[in-house]
C-alpha cells in the first residue's frame, strides 16, 4: 500500500506524463493492477454468461448451467428472432428511449437555466419542489399514473409513455442541469446581457455551449435508463406491437415453467443496444460528469 501512498504524495501533473515514470508506476502498482483486473473480469463475465446460456438447450442448461456450451445451438436465438424481438421490439425501445431523451434533455435544460439565472418569484419554491421529487419513491406512483394516463386517453400511445418517462426523469435532469448552470461564471452572462442579448439568446449562445458536456452525460444516462425500464412500459403500452424489448423479455416465460436459455437469448437483445450506446458515448458521458466536479 505504501506504493499507492507514495504515488499519492506525488500527484502532480508533470510527473506522470513521462512514459518511463508510467511504466515504473505500473510495475510498482502491479498487485493493485491485478486486483483491478479481477474486478474488471467480474464486470465482464455476466456478458459471457448470458452468451453461453443463450446457446444452450434447456436440458444442457439443467446439467451444465455455468460453463461454455458443449453443444451450442442457435435455436434459442432463432426462436427469439421469430417472435419479433429483434425487429419490432428493439425499434420500439429505440423510439421510446430516443424520444424520452430528447424531451427530458430539452425540458431540463430550459428549466435548469431558468432556475439558475432568472430571479423570478417562485424560484425557491420550484427548486425545493424539484429536489423533493427526487426522493419520491416511484412505486407509489404506479396505479395513480396508469389511471391518469388512461383518463387522458393516452393509454397504449407512445406519447403517453414518453410523458410518463419524462415525468420520472425530469427532476434529476433539472437538478443536473441546474448544478452545471450555476457553475457558469456570472461575468459571461453579464457580459452577454450588457451587449443587449435577450434571455433566450443568453441561453442559446452562452449557457448551452458551456454545459454541453452535461447535456451529453444526461442524454446518455437517460437513454440507458429508459431502455431498461420495465414496469411502466408493461402497464401503459398495452398493444403487442408496442412492446419494448424488456417487456417482451418478460413475456417469454410461462406460468410454471421458466425457459432460461430462451430468456438469456432475449437478454442478449436487451443488453447489447444500451451497452453499445454506452461504449460509443462513454467518453462524452465521463467528461460530462467530470466537468461538473471541476469548479
Amino acid at each position: 500500500m505504501s506504493t499507492i501512498g507514495r504515488s499519492l504524495n506525488r500527484v502532480s501533473g508533470a510527473f506522470w506524463s513521462r512514459p518511463s515514470w508510467r511504466i515504473r508506476q505500473t510495475i510498482r502498482l502491479a498487485p493493485a493492477w491485478v486486483l483491478l483486473a479481477v474486478v474488471a473480469a467480474s464486470t465482464l463475465y455476466p456478458m459471457l454468461f448470458i452468451l453461453f446460456t443463450s446457446l444452450k438447450s434447456v436440458s444442457e442448461f439443467a446439467t451444465n448451467p455455468l460453463g461454455p456450451p458443449s453443444e451450442p445451438t442457435l435455436g434459442n436465438i432463432q426462436e427469439v428472432l421469430s417472435r419479433g424481438l429483434l425487429g419490432t421490439n428493439v425499434l420500439n425501445s429505440l423510439l421510446i428511449s430516443t424520444l424520452t431523451v430528447v424531451v427530458v434533455v430539452t425540458i431540463s435544460c430550459l428549466a435548469g437555466f431558468a432556475l439558475a439565472f432568472l430571479r423570478f418569484r417562485l424560484r425557491r419554491t420550484i427548486l425545493l419542489g424539484i429536489v423533493g421529487l427526487l426522493i419520491q419513491p416511484t412505486a407509489l406512483l404506479m396505479i395513480p399514473v396508469v389511471l391518469i394516463v388512461s383518463n387522458l386517453g393516452l393509454i397504449s400511445t407512445y406519447l403517453g409513455i414518453v410523458l410518463v418517462y419524462a415525468g420520472l426523469g425530469i427532476p434529476f435532469g433539472i437538478y443536473l442541469m441546474y448544478s452545471y448552470m450555476v457553475t457558469v461564471p456570472h461575468e459571461i452572462i453579464d457580459a452577454a446581457r450588457v451587449d443587449g442579448a435577450s434571455t433566450f439568446q443568453v441561453l442559446y449562445r452562452v449557457a448551452i455551449p458551456v454545459v454541453a458536456p452535461a447535456l451529453g452525460a444526461l442524454a446518455t444516462l437517460s437513454f440507458i435508463g429508459w431502455w431498461n425500464e420495465f414496469l411502466f412500459a408493461l402497464l401503459i403500452l398495452q398493444d403487442g406491437s408496442q412492446q419494448t424489448v424488456i417487456v417482451a423479455l418478460g413475456s417469454l416465460q410461462g406460468e410454471h415453467f421458466l425457459h432460461v436459455p430462451l430468456v438469456a437469448a432475449g437478454m442478449l437483445f436487451s443488453i447489447i443496444p444500451p451497452l453499445t450506446v454506452f461504449v460509443i458515448l462513454h467518453r462524452r458521458l465521463f467528461s460530462g460528469l467530470t466537468a461538473g466536479a471541476l469548479k
Partner: protein, 445 residues
C-alpha cells in the same frame, strides 16, 4: 470585442462556443418534429375500440410461450370461420399477469377477450366481467365440468363470468431405473402416506436423493400442499381456506406442512433445494441426473422431463391418502378462464372467440401441440401423455371438483411459501408461519 473575449476566457477548457443560431434552431425543430411524430404515431395503434370490420384484442400469457404454440393456428382457424374479423393477440408476461390485469381493471380499459387465472381472479374481478349465462346453451353447459370456478362463490348454478379453460393438477414423476435399482416397483406409485414414506426410506438408504426439485420462495412446499391436502380434509373444507372458514393454522394443514419439514430434516430433499427454482429446470437437475428418485410437478411437464429418456419416466396423478388409505378428493380442475370484460365494444366477436378458444377443436390442438390439458370433457385425451390422461380422468369422475388450490388468495399462499422458507432456515416456527397466513387472510375479510 469585449464580449467575445469574455466568452473565450470564461470557457477555457470547454468546447468552443458554437454559432448558436443555426444549430439551436435545428435542434428545436427536431425536438418539435419528434414530439409531433410521437403524437401522430399513436393514431395508428387503435387501442381497444372496435373497427367496423370486427377487431378484437385478446390477452393471455401463453401466447409467446411453449404453452401457446397452438394459438396461432387457433387464431387463423377462427378467422377462417369468420372472415372480416381481425385479432390482435397480445402476449403478456406470466409473472406479471396479475399486475397487468389489475391495472387494466383499475383503468377500466383493456382487451375484448381476457384470459384469467381462476377461480381466484373471477372472485376478484367479476364486477367488471360480463355474465355469460344467457349465452351458454345446455349443450355447452354439459361439455365443461368446471363451471363452479367461474362463479365468485364457486356455485356452478349461479352467474358464471367466464368459460373454463386449461386443466391443471399435480403429478408425480419418477425415474423408473432408479426405482428398479432400489427394489421398488417401477410401474406403480404409492398412494398412501405410509407407502410413500417407505419408498423414500428405500431411496435414501440406497444413497439416492428421494425428492428432486427446488423450493425457492417456498413454492415447492405449496405444490406439496396441493398433493397432501386432499389426504387430510374434504373438498369443502379445502374451499374454506380461501375465505377464512378453514384456518391456515388448522391442525390438518399443519400436518401436511409438518410432513414436508420432517422430510427436509430426514434429508429426503436435495441439500441445495432452497436456492433452486421450483419452476425452472434447474429445480429438476438432480432428478434428471438420476440422482433423485421422485419429483412432483404438473401434468404436461412430461415432455420437458423426458427429454432423452421417455421410457424411463413414470407418471401418476399426485394423490396421497394421509389420514386414510385413499385421499378424499383430487386437487385438480380448470386453472384458467376466458372472460369478456364489461368495457368491450365488440361483445359478439369476443363471445365467438372465447367460445372457439374453449371448443373441443381448439382445446384438442392445445392438448396435442402444447401438451396442456383441456377443461372440455369432450376432448380426446387418450393419446396424451399418461400423467395428463390419468389426472384428467380422475377429475372427470368427480363432478363439481374445482382446483381448490387455485381458490386460495394469492398473497396468502405466496406469503405462506415465504414463511416456510423462513421455517426451513430456522428463523420461524411452523405455528408462527401459519399464524402469519391467518393474519393476512383476516385482512381480506
Amino acid at each position: 470585442m469585449i464580449r467575445v473575449e469574455a466568452v473565450r476566457v470564461g470557457v477555457g477548457r470547454g468546447p468552443r462556443p458554437k454559432r448558436a443560431g443555426k444549430g439551436t434552431l435545428t435542434f428545436a425543430l427536431a425536438a418539435l418534429l419528434t414530439l409531433a411524430l410521437a403524437a401522430c404515431a399513436n393514431q395508428g395503434t387503435g387501442g381497444t375500440s372496435e373497427k367496423p370490420s370486427g377487431k378484437i384484442v385478446v390477452w393471455d400469457f401463453n401466447y409467446n410461450t411453449e404453452a401457446g404454440k397452438s394459438y396461432q393456428q387457433v387464431d387463423s382457424n377462427f378467422i377462417a370461420k369468420f372472415p372480416g374479423v381481425t385479432i390482435e393477440h397480445v402476449a403478456k408476461p406470466a409473472g406479471e399477469y396479475g399486475k397487468v390485469v389489475q391495472a387494466a381493471m383499475a383503468a377500466k380499459s383493456g382487451p375484448d377477450a381476457l384470459m384469467l387465472q381462476t377461480p381466484f381472479a373471477i372472485k376478484d374481478y367479476y364486477t367488471l366481467l360480463t355474465p355469460l349465462n344467457d349465452l351458454i346453451n345446455a349443450d355447452m353447459k354439459s361439455q365443461f365440468a368446471g363451471w363452479g370456478g367461474m362463479n365468485p362463490d364457486l356455485d356452478p348454478n349461479g352467474k358464471v363470468y367466464g368459460i373454463p379453460y386449461s386443466f391443471g393438477g399435480t403429478a408425480f414423476y419418477w425415474n423408473k431405473a432408479v426405482f428398479e435399482k432400489v427394489g421398488a416397483d417401477p410401474n406403480k406409485f404409492p398412494t398412501s402416506y405410509d407407502d410413500l414414506l417407505a419408498l423414500f426410506k428405500k431411496l435414501k438408504a440406497a444413497g439416492i436423493t428421494p425428492i428432486g426439485g427446488g423450493d425457492k420462495l417456498g413454492i415447492f412446499s405449496s405444490w406439496w400442499m396441493y398433493a397432501a391436502i386432499p389426504g387430510v380434509m374434504s373438498l369443502q373444507d379445502c374451499y374454506g381456506l380461501s375465505n377464512g372458514k378453514t384456518k391456515w393454522s388448522d391442525p390438518r394443514v399443519k400436518r401436511t406442512l409438518q410432513i414436508y419439514l420432517d422430510w427436509i430434516k430426514a434429508g429426503y430433499f436435495a441439500p441445495n433445494q432452497a436456492e433452486l427454482n421450483a419452476g425452472d429446470f434447474s429445480g429438476f437437475t438432480n432428478w434428471i441426473n438420476g440422482q433423485a428418485g421422485v419429483v412432483w410437478a404438473f401434468p404436461g411437464y412430461r415432455p420437458k422431463l423426458a427429454q432423452d429418456d421417455a421410457k424411463n419416466l413414470g407418471t401418476a396423478a399426485a394423490v396421497i391418502g394421509i389420514d386414510a388409505p385413499a385421499p378424499h378428493f383430487y386437487m385438480a380442475g380448470p386453472t384458467l378462464g376466458w372472460t369478456i370484460p364489461t368495457w368491450t365494444k365488440n361483445k359478439t366477436t369476443a363471445w365467438e372467440y372465447i367460445k372457439y378458444m374453449t371448443s373441443t377443436e381448439a382445446q384438442q390442438l392445445h392438448l396435442d401441440v402444447d401438451k396442456v390439458g383441456p377443461s372440455n370433457i369432450k376432448v380426446d385425451v387418450s393419446k396424451a401423455d399418461p400423467d395428463l390422461t390419468a389426472t384428467f380422468n380422475l377429475w372427470k369422475a368427480s363432478p363439481g371438483n374445482e382446483h381448490c388450490g387455485r381458490t386460495f388468495k394469492v398473497d396468502v399462499i405466496v406469503e405462506l411459501g415465504k414463511q416456510m422458507t423462513a421455517v426451513e432456515a430456522g428463523q420461524q416456527t411452523l405455528d408462527g408461519a401459519l399464524k402469519v397466513a391467518d393474519d393476512i387472510q383476516a385482512q381480506h375479510a
